[in-house]
Every structure is written in structure tokens, then in C-alpha cells.
Assembly symmetry: C2
Homo-oligomer: 677 residues x 2
């Protein structure tokens, strides 16, 4: 039995009578009017929203609301108390990014709701509708009816109206961000992480994600039935998934919406929904490239731990500093420098020190040596997932680096078995998800504390990127996807379409420290990777990060000076980005304008299929001549055989009127540097 | 990065070398050898099991294990400490049920495992393989390494090898057991409750469920990707989903496996995995039929609450007692007898008294009046989902009924918004799932406490049935699916194939208080239901329960004396049950032998399609003549129009050699009583 107060009006509803039609609480359109969001009070008292695009249903009426552990449900019995609309249009500047200026133009609808039968308990919902998507969030006011909200379940649904295909990653397992991306009918999604990108039958693309994930648990998307997804909050180890006191807002639930994949990529929806920069002057954050003592350990040529094959030695690091200085790389990452890498270093066994080096690594001397050569060491804080232990030492670790002139840190949360360790309030520890509310708190704390020391942070095994780099521009990059290291030892290695999947899924959320540039095209024991050399170069442009590692061994760069030149030339900070064309999981071309010169760079990738892509250079300044340095697959190039090394490096003169034909090999790519003459 | 201790053997694995093949820990077959279960230690240290049927993969290697909130993971690094096998074959007798004698024959494999790197922490897994299915459970011993287990995630997977179709209900919402049953490809399942039935491409049927759910949270099935499902433990409002101390066993995870739907139905797998009867003599539990003051409220002819239309009055109840006595019904259910039905009676607002009647209902006088006529009142404890409040009054409520000679109670947990209310250990209350560990504890407590007073319990809005009626035979029935009441006011009402879906899904778990027998074939305001009259009769046989309500109003039974005779004659306790034929969601015929006479009863149902089903009466005693009283759809009968009332009642003489042709109309059925001459 599922009874409510059976009254005449409900009975009429049950028979399907017209007496209790849904009541529209408000409606808001995008500035260009293509998108429309309507919020309704359904006949049975539930709150729903729907999205139409060019007059056709895109998101069918989908529920809003919460179940609470400590108070009655917040999912029905609402009345509208107040409705307000506003418009916003400004342009703001990023200290670094894929473009310099970001336009923030939307129409906003705010609904203040009250549950009269719950002692007039209040809840607000705010919708912002942009030309390129929709974001909405809930706002809980301070109220005696709910001094503390323990959210056991967020009921937000996303019911996709037209049949669609989805590109998604599993969630619900702890190292989940490193699963391969799947392509299935949307109806065959299980539990997905975000961003999740879909393409409907008529070609509309949607990327589901969230913005400004602060002090809340990470949202997964759980398929309910058919094409209905709903929010699934990462569980807490103890208590409800989310607990907040007083007034608070949830993260924004976002949907980038575009006619094609390129349009999705061009959106800055999540950044626009984040709070402006809180750090002020961030000139101490340096977009740059780096090399380092890293890939050799993944290739098993050296070890993180101590011993005769220890990679992080003073001598080896000096080699990399010299190489970096000679070739214009600002940074040198060194992993394995600190005590704790011997034995079982992840999880409960973690014994890392964040202040003490191995005896064969002289941090102080090397920092000075580097700085003298115009290079900086990049710090490394591998936590082994033992957040409790890390938080105790983090400040001392930051202080040490600040003192030594190290101004950026790569952090890691490698867990063996997937569980991170957190401190109990009253002493002792417990295991939990890094995506939980407490995990989310930790990741941000590591960044805000680092800012006090003018340290930038590159987080590996991170929480998803939800645009907080706008508010804290020292959060420069993260992993959060299957990276290059899987090409060393993965089982399987990255598939040939991995990068083109990444661009239109993971890369919609923010920078990735993907570590491209493996010109040797091989992993451990010479096992080939699914790439041509030209694609390794193209990845420097196509996979965005303000800090990019040229990941290969020094000897491989010395072996291939031709291709290596592109790596030396390519910048990592941009004034503008264009996506002339692309299809999910198939191919993409991205063109970017250097922030500091008038140069443009182009990176084009394909999957396992050869393609010729037409690229009009209309983004160049009109009436100006450019030298194009083209690095392209040779005519016989193919990732599947020894011709993966076939690369042609040529120059031509071009203008904005030029149309290039980019001939990509199977598993291939193309990289172009365009310099004004 | 997803690092483990990178060592030579793991590297070889990464390249796909043969060095680290899966290690078989044990293997066990069904007594008839058709099913085989193999448990292996996978190369990466995970434990998996697989199921083969007639030598072909049925369940692909699927993970086993747990994540704990208070200790390192229990999902890898296992070694086998001890392996033991045994065989079991006995037959036990049920005090009531679909058959009298149940054969319990299986082969068992027990594996005692140890995680050496977790201080030699132990875990056992036990598999029991029957000819008709597989059950397995985990056993946690008492050990200092894990004095308390806080299970945050059970990692048990079920990876179905051949492509399959699934009949499933959504889970994850609190009143979920009342969703309509969906039929989709298995790959399109989202989060399902159990039982979930699938049919593979070659016709193999599997029903996934659990047995002996005690002091643990209810298992939902979450689709991960493709046809991989995994256990999803109902969350707790506070803390990990499951917390246990010392030695304990999990519920059995079960798979009934058969060549066809009928074979699935015939299995007693879950009952066999439950503990034997703990209550001893249960002659105070009475399989029987009842009528009552109930449907009229769903039709809105009267109210649960007080006032001029109050249904539960002394006068109205007397009418039902007289009718029951005259027509051989043992019980009279009365809802709305007790204070608390006025106003908002569910959830936090619940003000029910379980001891005080409304002034116009004289419990004492009516109990006496009934008993004098050979009838018993059936008690009603609607809790409104306020478990905290109910537990405070439950004992007093039970005592009252025991004193008044009421020997069975229908309970209810109707929640408005789906959350039940539980008590906090230290005072106050919180909201949570009824399927949670604390919910599961409550439901069983209500039954064991009732047994002290020799009260039988029929639970509505229950936890799923996992066979505990074997251990506590006073747990006589439950709802736990979309019942007849949806035909009163549902939006939508029950579909025409609802019963045939139920039989091979919900009904695999145990009895359902479905309340058939609406001979008026209509709900509120005359809206027709999707059924013929003959189908209403057939449901008394096809939808099993030891206690069955003839749910319609007295006046409708008086209006249709012909069909009503079947209702008066049909018993509810059986010596044997056969399923001559059936297909999920399409049709089924069930034949049952009365436990107390040599009569047989047949109930046949179809969906919206007319069918002629061939029924050989081979189950009858050979060489004996029977009178068949046949209640069948008229030749023009059809659920979609006024011919839904066309019923033919005829007699014939039959023997075991007779083959009947059951002609079923669209939305129809057939009921037959076979009496030895």
C-alpha cells in the first residue's frame, strides 16, 4: 500500500482527470532563446524541471529534492513563496587557461520554496541558463526547522528524452576515474562518473557534470530505468553522505548542451558557475613544461625505492636539470626522493616522510642548482591514500618546499584496494571513498593550504575537476583519468581511441596532467603503444594542461631531435582555443593561440582509422603570413607496425585563407606550429 | 596511477604472460552434475566464482569480497587455508506451504581463507549446489583481527555470460517493492530489487535472490556494465550499511536455475537454505481465508478515519463476521479500528494507538461475537513507517490482541515520501530505509515477539521474503509487491500481465497477500480492472499465500453466487504443487493438492492474449474418477469490454488420463476444482 491522504483531488488525479494539472512555478530561457527550462509542481506534489531545446523535449520532467536522515523528506509538499529572475552578462579574465577572456552570460531563475506541512521549512532552487548549457543548484537557508541537514539521498533526476548514446566511465569503485571510457546506448549505463557525454539521435550533445564541488560528496550518475539517470551521492564511511549546518548551497548540477562535440568543448559552463578568484595575485603560478625522473620507474629501469636502481638520486636529477635548462623546460619532477617508498607504501602501511629525503638525494643542493639554471624542482607528495597521515605532515612538507624554492607539487593518492584512510574525530582512523564529503574537503584543503605558501598543486588520483581552478588558480592540474602510465604497464594499455575519447569527456572538466611525448612509442620491455610519433606531438595541444610533462627519457628526446623541436616550442598557456571539428571517440582538431605571442598551435588526433581532415586556417589574423611547421604522419605511417615512427616534418607558408588537408594515419595525429612571418 | 607493489610477476601479468594463471581453490557440482561451481584466486589476487551449466558458462568469473570502513579491504591477497566438501540429502516437513515435504539435497564446498598480509585475517565462503540452483554465503569467524566488521561495500558480482532478458523491479526508492515489473535486456537493468528473474538466449532461467536475511541490510542488484551485476547493500542512515561483531554469517546469495519458468517456480532453494523451525508447535497458525473492512475504503465508500463514513464500526464489522461465518471464512480483517487515522497519519505525524479503538468500534464485544461464530478478527497494526513509535507500543498491542483471541495481525509501514523513522540509540529519531540493517532487524523482531503471544504476522510494506517462514512459521504472508489495491486507485492500475509477471518473480520468494477475488471487476468510481471474472478465481490458486483475502464487498459476492462458490471452496494450504507450464509475463497454470483432502485445484492465467493451453491431468491419482468443477472465460470474454463478466461454470468427469484444453480469454483465466468421486 502506498497511501497518501486520499482526498477527492488525488482521486481525480488517479483516474487521470484534469483537475490537478502540473503547476508551472517558473520558466527561463537562454539568452539566445534556444534552451528553455521549466520548473513545475507535479500533481502529486513533487518538484520537477525539464529542458527543451529549440522547442523539443531534451530533458523530460525530472525530479528534484532530497531525503534527509534527520528530518522528514524534502521531496514533495512544496509551495512557491517567491520567484525572481535576473540576467547576467560580463566577461572575466583567467590568469591562465585555454582562453584569456571568458564570457559569462546567462538568465537566472530563482525559486524560493516552502514546505508548509514541515513547519514552513524552506529550500531554494536556482537555474542558470546559458546559450551553451544549464546549471542548477539547491540553496538551503539558515532555519530553525533544519539547523543541520544530513542528506541521505539526493533525488535529482536527469531523464533524457530522445534516444541517445553515452560515453561513460564506471563509478562506485574507488580508483574509478582510471577506467577506460565505454560507449553504449544510454539505456545500458550502470553507475557513471562525470563528466558523462551523450549524443542524441538528432545529434545534440550533452555533457553531465557538476561545478563548484565544495564540502559535499561527489555526484555519480545512476541509471534507474530506460534513459532516466539520477544523482547518487558518494557514500560516507560513517553517517549520511553529506552533512552541513546552517545555510549552504549544493554544487551546481550542470549540462553542457551543443549541436556537436566541438561545441561542447568550447563551453566554459562550469568555470562560469564557480566563484571568482579568491587568491588575488597568482603570478607565482607558472604555466610551463617539465621533464623528470618518472617514466624510467614505470619502465622498471629504476625504482622509487632505495637501492642500486634508485631513480631519485642527486646525479640523475642533475642530468634532468641540465637537460631541462638546455631545452627550455621550467620544471623537473622527481619521484622517489623521500623516505617511505620501500615495502608496502600505500594504505595503512604508508610510512612516507614529507620532509626527509633518501640519503642519495640532496634536496637543498639540487634546488639551488636548478634555480641557478633557471629551472625549478617540482615537489612530489605521494600519500598512499593515507590522508590521515598526510594531513599531519602536510604543513611541514609545504614549508620545506617553500623554503627550497620549489613552487609546485604533484600529489598522489594511490591506494592498494582503493580505500583511503581518514582520521576519526576522536582518534583512530577509518577507510572511505576519496570522493566522499570528507575526501572532497581534504583535496581542497591541500590546495588552500598550499596557496598560503605560494605553491601550485597538481593532484593525482584526485576528485573530479569541477572548475575550482577559477576560485583557486593554484590548482593547476590533475590526473583523474587513465593517463600515459597505462602505456607503460597497463593491462590493457590505452586503446587507440583513448585520447579522442578523453577530449570530449574528461577534458570537458579541466586540465589533465596526461604526460604526453613518448617519442619512443613503447612501454615496458619494448611493448609498443597505440600511437604514431606525430600523435605524441599533437597531444601537447589537444590534451590541455597549463603544466605539461614531456614524459620520455632524455635519451629518446636526444634520439629524435626533429619531433622534439615541437615539444620544445609548444607553449602551455593560451589566449584562445578553437575546435574546428571533432567527433566523440573518432577524431578532433584543436587550435590554440599562445597567450604571449601571436603564434598558433594545432593538434589533431584520430582513432584507429586513417582520416583526411579539412582545416581552414580562418582563425589566423587576416592578411598576415605565417610559417607553418608541420609534423605529420608519413604516408605509410600506422600505429600497428614499425611505420608508427614515420613522421614528416615540413614547412610552408600559409595565411588565413589557406585550407590544409590533415592526413592522419591509423592511430595518428598532426601537430602544427604557426608563426607570423 | 593505480600502483601495486610492482614486481616481476605482476609485470609479466601486465604483458599477458602465462606465469600467473588463476588458481582453482575448489569446485563443486550439483547432485545431478548439471551445475558446477568453481572458485578461483585470480592472477591479481582477487577471489572469483563461476557457474557452468551442462558444461557451458552461465555465470562468468565474478568477484567476491568486501570493503570495510574500519579495516583494510577484504577483496584480495587471499590464500586457501582449508577446503572441505560434504553432501546433504534429507526431506523435511513444512507446517504449511505449497507442498508438505521438501527435499533438501545439495553438495557443499567450504573454503577457509586467510589474508596473510592483514595479520592472518580469516574469511570463509560456503557454496551449496542443488540440482535447481546455487546458494553461497560468507562466514566471518570471531577473530581479534576483526572484532567488529563495518561493511561499507559488498563486492559480490553476478556476471551473466550468455545474453539475457530480465524481469526486474527498480530498487533504491523506499516504496520500491510496489513498482511495476519491467522487462528489458539484462544490459538495461539499473538498480534492481530481488527476486530478479532472467532468461538467457538458450532458454535457461535464473532467479537472483537471497535467503535468510537476518541482521544485515537487504541486497539490491546494481548493473555495473554489460551484463555484470553486483550487490548493492541498502545504505544505513548512519554508519556503514552493515555492522556486526564477533562471528557471523551473511545471508545466502541465491540463484535458482532451471530450463524453464515452471522449473524456477518448483524450486525450494531459499527455504532449504534457511534454518529449521525454531518455534516448535505452530498449530496456532491457521492457513485460512478471510474477508473484511478494507476494499470499501480503497473504493472511497468509507474512511479509515472517524466520522460518518467510518468503515470500522461495530455494526459494519458484525456484518462481515456474519458473512464470514455463513460462508466458511475464518477471518475478518478490520482496518481503521484504532485511534490515529485522522489527519496526517504516516511518518513523523503518526499518532496511532495500538491499544485504543475508536469509540464506534467495540473490540472486545466483536472478538467475542466472532469467536462464538467460529470466526476470528484479524488485527491491524498500521505503523505509518514510524518504527520508533511502534516498537514502544508493540508489546501492549500484542498483549491486547492475545487477550481478545485475535491470533493474527496484518501490519503496515506506509510512509509518505518513503522514509521510515527509527529510534536513535541515545534518544531522538532519524529517517532511514526499511530495507536497511536496522529495518531488517525490526521486521524480524515484530515476528519473534508476536510468536511469544502465538500471533501470526502478515507484513505489508515489508522487507523482501527470504524464506524466514521456515524458521518462524508465524510469518505467514506479506505484501512486498504491487497488489490488488492498485486496481482501486492506482495511476496506472495493474497491467493485464501483472499477475503472470508476479508468479515468476515476486512469487518465487514466498507468499503474497495479494487479495484477489474482486468479482465486480472494478475499482473506484466504476473504473474497470484488467481482468475477467474467471481470472479473479484462478488467482486464488495461482498467487500463493496461506492466508488469502476474498477482498470484494459483501454485496458483490452476493451478486455472483456462481463464481463465489469457487472462492468458498478453495483451500489455502497444500500438500503438493505442480506447474505444468508457464512463460514469464505470458501465462501460467498451477495445480495444487489440498493438504487435508484428496482434492486438487487448478488456476490458469494469461496476459492480454487469448490462449488455449493443454493441460494433461497426470497429477491426479491414476485409476480414480474426479468431478471437475470448471470456471472458465466465456467464448466472447475479454477484459477490455463488458464481456469481462462472461464466465461459464460447468462440470465434467475426468481422470488422470484426461487432457483438458484451457481456453483463456484476453486478460482471462480458469479455475478448476477437482474432487474425487
Amino acid at each position: 500500500m502506498k497511501l497518501r491522504l486520499i482526498s477527492a483531488c488525488c482521486m481525480l488525479l488517479a483516474i487521470g482527470g484534469p483537475a490537478f494539472a502540473d503547476q508551472v512555478l517558473g520558466s527561463v530561457s537562454s539568452p539566445d532563446k534556444t534552451l528553455n527550462v521549466t520548473v513545475q509542481l507535479a500533481g502529486d506534489g513533487h518538484l520537477t524541471y525539464e529542458v527543451q531545446r529549440r522547442g523539443k523535449p531534451l530533458i523530460a520532467p525530472s525530479k528534484l529534492g532530497f531525503l534527509l536522515a534527520n528530518a522528514p523528506q524534502m521531496d514533495q509538499g512544496f509551495s512557491l513563496e517567491k520567484q525572481s529572475s535576473s540576467a547576467h552578462d560580463d566577461t572575466w579574465e583567467q590568469p591562465w587557461g585555454e582562453r584569456r577572456y571568458v564570457r559569462n552570460r546567462y538568465q537566472e531563475l530563482k525559486l524560493d520554496l516552502v514546505q508548509k506541512e514541515m513547519s514552513n521549512r524552506h529550500l531554494s532552487v536556482v537555474f542558470r541558463v546559458f546559450d551553451d548549457g544549464v546549471g542548477f543548484r539547491y540553496e538551503f537557508p539558515e532555519q530553525p526547522q533544519l539547523p543541520v541537514a544530513r542528506i541521505s539521498d539526493e533525488l535529482t533526476e536527469f531523464i533524457v528524452a530522445p534516444p541517445a548514446t553515452a560515453w561513460w566511465q564506471e563509478a562506485g569503485e574507488k580508483a574509478a576515474l582510471e577506467y577506460a571510457i565505454r560507449k553504449t546506448p544510454l539505456a545500458e549505463v550502470g553507475m557513471a562518473n562525470t563528466p558523462m557525454t551523450i549524443r542524441t539521435r538528432d545529434g545534440t550533445h550533452i555533457a553531465f557534470h557538476e561545478a563548484a564541488l565544495v564540502d559535499y560528496s561527489s555526484m555519480w550518475l545512476r541509471k534507474v530505468e530506460g534513459q532516466k539517470l539520477r544523482a547518487h551521492l558518494t557514500p560516507s564511511a560513517d553517517g549520511a553522505p553529506v552533512e552541513r549546518s546552517g545555510a549552504f548551497t549544493t554544487p551546481w548540477r550542470t549540462m553542457r548542451i551543443a549541436d556537436n562535440a566541438a561545441g561542447l568543448y568550447m563551453s566554459d559552463l562550469e568555470l562560469n558557475l564557480n566563484e571568482p578568484n579568491k587568491l588575488g595575485d597568482v603570478s607565482w603560478v607558472h604555466p610551463s613544461k617539465f621533464v623528470g625522473v618518472w617514466w624510467e620507474m614505470h619502465l622498471e629501469k629504476s625504482t622509487w625505492g632505495s637501492g642500486t636502481k634508485h631513480g631519485a638520486t642527486t646525479a640523475n636529477t642533475k642530468r634532468y636539470i641540465d637537460f631541462a635548462a638546455k631545452n627550455g623546460f621550467r620544471g623537473v619532477l622527481v619521484e622517489g626522493w623521500n623516505l617511505g617508498w620501500d615495502g608496502n607504501w600505500s594504505g595503512g602501511g604508508s610510512q612516507f616522510s614529507f620532509t626527509q629525503s633518501y640519503p642519495d638525494f640532496d634536496l637543498h643542493a639540487l634546488s639551488a642548482y636548478a634555480r641557478q639554471k633557471g629551472v625549478r624542482l617540482i615537489g612530489h607528495h605521494e600519500t598512499g591514500g593515507n590522508v590521515a597521515r598526510y594531513e599531519q605532515q602536510m604543513d611541514a612538507g609545504y614549508q620545506l618546499y617553500a623554503k627550497e624554492g620549489v613552487d609546485s607539487i604533484k600529489s598522489g593518492y594511490v591506494t592498494d584496494g582503493g580505500e583511503a584512510i581518514f582520521a576519526n574525530a576522536g582518534g583512530g582512523t577509518h577507510y572511505g571513498y576519496t570522493d566522499s564529503q570528507e575526501g572532497v574537503r581534504h583535496y581542497l584543503k591541500a590546495v588552500t593550504e598550499a596557496a598560503r605558501y605560494k605553491l601550485a598543486i597538481d593532484t593525482h588520483e584526485p576528485v573530479k575537476d569541477t572548475g575550482l581552478r577559477r576560485t583557486y588558480p593554484n590548482w593547476i592540474s590533475r590526473e583523474g583519468a587513465r593517463g600515459m602510465e597505462y602505456n607503460a604497464w597497463g593491462n590493457p594499455i590505452n586503446s587507440v581511441d583513448h585520447e579522442v575519447n578523453l577530449v570530449f569527456t574528461r577534458m570537458l572538466s579541466g586540465p589533465m596532467d596526461y604526460t604526453p611525448g613518448i617519442l619512443s612509442l613503447e612501454g615496458v620491455k619494448g611493448r609498443p603503444i597505440n600511437s604514431t610519433q606525430a600523435r605524441q606531438l599533437a597531444s601537447f595541444v589537444a590534451i590541455y594542461s597549463p603544466i605539461v610533462m614531456a614524459a620520455d627519457l632524455i635519451e629518446n628526446y636526444e634520439k629524435y631531435p626533429g619531433p622534439f623541436k615541437f615539444i620544445k616550442d609548444v607553449p602551455t598557456d593560451w589566449a584562445d582555443t578553437r575546435v574546428p571539428h571533432g567527433e566523440l571517440g573518432e577524431y578532433v582538431t584543436i587550435a590554440r593561440k599562445d597567450r604571449h605571442t601571436d603564434e598558433w598551435y594545432v593538434g589533431s588526433l584520430t582513432d584507429g582509422q586513417a582520416r583526411t581532415l579539412t582545416l581552414p586556417l580562418t582563425f589566423l589574423d587576416p592578411g598576415r603570413q605565417y610559417t607553418a611547421e608541420i609534423y605529420r604522419d608519413g604516408d605509410q605511417a600506422d600505429y600497428r607496425n614499425s611505420h608508427r615512427f614515420d613522421i614528416v616534418i615540413e614547412k610552408r607558408t600559409v595565411t588565413a585563407a589557406t585550407v590544409l588537408q590533415l592526413k592522419l594515419a591509423p592511430g595518428g595525429g598532426q601537430a602544427i606550429r604557426l608563426t607570423p612571418r
